[in-house]
C-alpha cells in the first residue's frame, strides 16, 4: 500500500500531457503495473544507472534498519574478496559494494546495482576465504541475473513504485535533454526506500533463482581461484543451524532448505571437481576476522 501511495505521489508530479488516469489506477490497486503503455515500456529495461540508483535507495533503507559492523578491517577485507570475484564476471564494471552488517542473524542479501551485504553472524561461522567467496559469489550471481529487479518488477505494487519513479524521471530527462540525472537518482532512490519498508527483504525469491545463484556462484568462486566446495561446506553448516538458536529465521523462510540446495548442487558439482584442489585460504580469513 505504501508503495502504491508512493507511486501515486510520483505520478501526480508528471506534467499534464503525460499524466495517466488516476481513477483507473486506484481501481486497479496493486495491478497498477498494467496502467499504461508508457510505464510498461519503461519497466522493461533498466539502464545500469537506473539500476544502481534504485539499489542505492534500497541499500539506504536497509541500513536504516540494520547497522554496519564497526570492524573496518573486516569491511575492507570482504570488499576485496567480493571485488576480486565480481571482476571475474560479465558485470565486472558495476560499482560493487560489499558490507558486513552488525547482526548475529545468519543471512546475506543482494541488491540491484551491485551491493551485497552479509551478516556478521554468518561470517563468523565460516572457516575460510573460500567459504566466504562461496557466499559472496552466490549473492553476486543474484546481481548478475538481476533477480531482485525481476522480483520487484513481478510484484505489481513494487513495480508501480519503482517503475513509476523511472517513468517520471525519464520524462523529465526527455524534456531537459538528459540533464536531470540527479532527479532520476533521487526519485529511484526514494522508491528503493519504499520497497524496503514494503517488505522487499522478507519475501523469498523464486526457488529457481536461488538454485541458479548457487550454480553460478560456485563457478564464480572457482574462477576466482578458490575451491568451489567452500560453498558446499557453507550449505552443510547451514543445514545444522537451529533457527531459534541463531536467529536464522529469515534465512530459512526466504531460501529453500539447505538440504534441497545441496541436492541440487550435487547435480552440477562433478563438472567442478577438478577445481576442488584450489586454495581455501584459511589463514588470511582467520587473520581478518580478528578475535574469535
Amino acid at each position: 500500500m505504501r508503495a502504491l501511495l508512493a507511486a501515486l505521489a510520483l505520478l501526480a508530479a508528471v506534467p499534464a500531457h503525460a499524466q495517466l488516469d488516476i481513477g483507473r489506477i486506484i481501481d486497479l490497486g496493486r495491478k497498477a503495473v498494467e496502467i499504461a503503455p508508457k510505464i510498461q515500456e519503461a519497466t522493461k529495461e533498466y539502464t545500469v544507472e537506473e539500476e544502481v540508483a534504485l539499489g542505492d535507495g534500497i541499500a539506504s533503507g536497509f541500513l536504516g534498519a540494520i547497522r554496519l559492523h564497526p570492524d573496518e578491517r573486516l569491511q575492507r577485507y570482504v570488499n576485496r574478496v567480493g571485488r576480486w570475484l565480481a571482476s571475474q564476471t560479465e558485470r565486472a564494471d558495476l560499482p560493487w559494494t560489499f558490507g558486513v552488517i552488525d547482526t548475529e542473524v545468519i543471512n546475506a542479501f543482494a541488491m540491484p546495482g551491485g551491493t551485497v551485504v552479509v551478516s556478521h553472524g554468518l561470517v563468523k561461522r565460516l572457516t575460510s576465504e573460500a567459504e566466504l567467496a562461496g557466499v559472496l559469489a552466490h549473492e553476486i550471481a543474484h546481481v548478475l541475473k538481476k533477480h531482485q529487479l525481476s522480483a520487484i518488477q513481478s510484484d505489481a505494487g513494487w513495480s508501480a513504485a519503482a517503475d513509476g519513479a523511472k517513468a517520471v524521471a525519464a520524462d523529465q530527462i526527455g524534456r531537459r535533454g538528459g540533464g536531470d540525472v540527479l532527479g532520476l537518482k533521487t526519485k529511484l532512490a526514494n522508491a528503493g526506500v519504499d520497497l524496503v519498508k514494503d517488505g522487499l527483504f522478507l519475501r523469498p525469491l523464486d526457488r529457481s533463482m536461488e538454485y541458479e545463484a548457487d550454480r553460478l556462484g560456485v563457478v564464480v568462486a572457482a574462477r576466482g581461484g578458490y575451491d568451489p566446495y567452500g560453498f558446499v561446506a557453507v550449505l552443510t553448516m547451514l543445514a545444522q543451524v537451529k533457527p531459534e538458536e541463531s536467529g536464522a529465521s529469515i534465512t530459512f523462510s526466504t531460501h529453500p532448505s539447505p538440504a534441497d540446495r545441496l541436492a541440487e548442487l550435487e547435480k552440477v558439482m562433478p563438472q567442478l571437481e577438478k577445481f576442488a584442489q584450489q586454495p581455501q585460504v584459511e589463514q588470511r580469513f582467520r587473520q581478518n576476522l580478528g578475535a574469535k
Binding site: R80, T127, F252, V268
Partner: protein, 171 residues
Amino acid sequence: MLARLIAPLLLAGLSLIGDASAQEPASTNRATELKERPAADSRTLASLAADSAVKVVARQGAWTQVEAGSQRGWVRAFHLRFQSTVESSSSGGSGSITSIFGFGSKEAPRTSKVATLGIRGLTPEDFKNASPDPAALKKMQSYRADRAGAERFAREARLAPVAVAYVGSGS
C-alpha cells in the same frame, strides 16, 4: 619428565576433540565407500551402508574425512547428511529424536515452513519503521575495493583467475 612431555601433547589432543566442528555427527545418505585418501581412485577401506552413523573429522574439497566405527577415512561430501534443524524449530515437538542423526523420517525437511521462531535482530517491523540512512550508505561505499587493488590482494594469497564456464541445471 615423561609426564611433563606428554601433558602438552594430551592438551593439544584434547583441544582438537573439544572443537565441536571437528566431531560433528552425520550419517551416510546412501550406500557409499570409505576411502583411504580423498580421491575416487584411492583404496576402499570399507563399504558403508546407507544411514551409517559417522563423525566428521575434516573437509577437503569434494571429500569429508570421517570416523566410522573404529575406522577413519574419506567419503564424498554429498554422501553425508547432517543433523536436521526441523525438529528443533517446530513448536509441536512431535519430531522424533532419532532424526537428529538423520535416521527415521524419510521426509524432506521443510525448514522454511516452520522457521518462524526466534527472529532476533531482523524483524519485519525493523524494515517497516526504518528511515533511510544515506550516511551509512556512504560509509559502506567508502570501503569499496578497486579492481586493481582486488587483483593485488588475490595475488598475495596466490589466487589466479581460472577460465570456468557456467554450468547448466544438470537435469
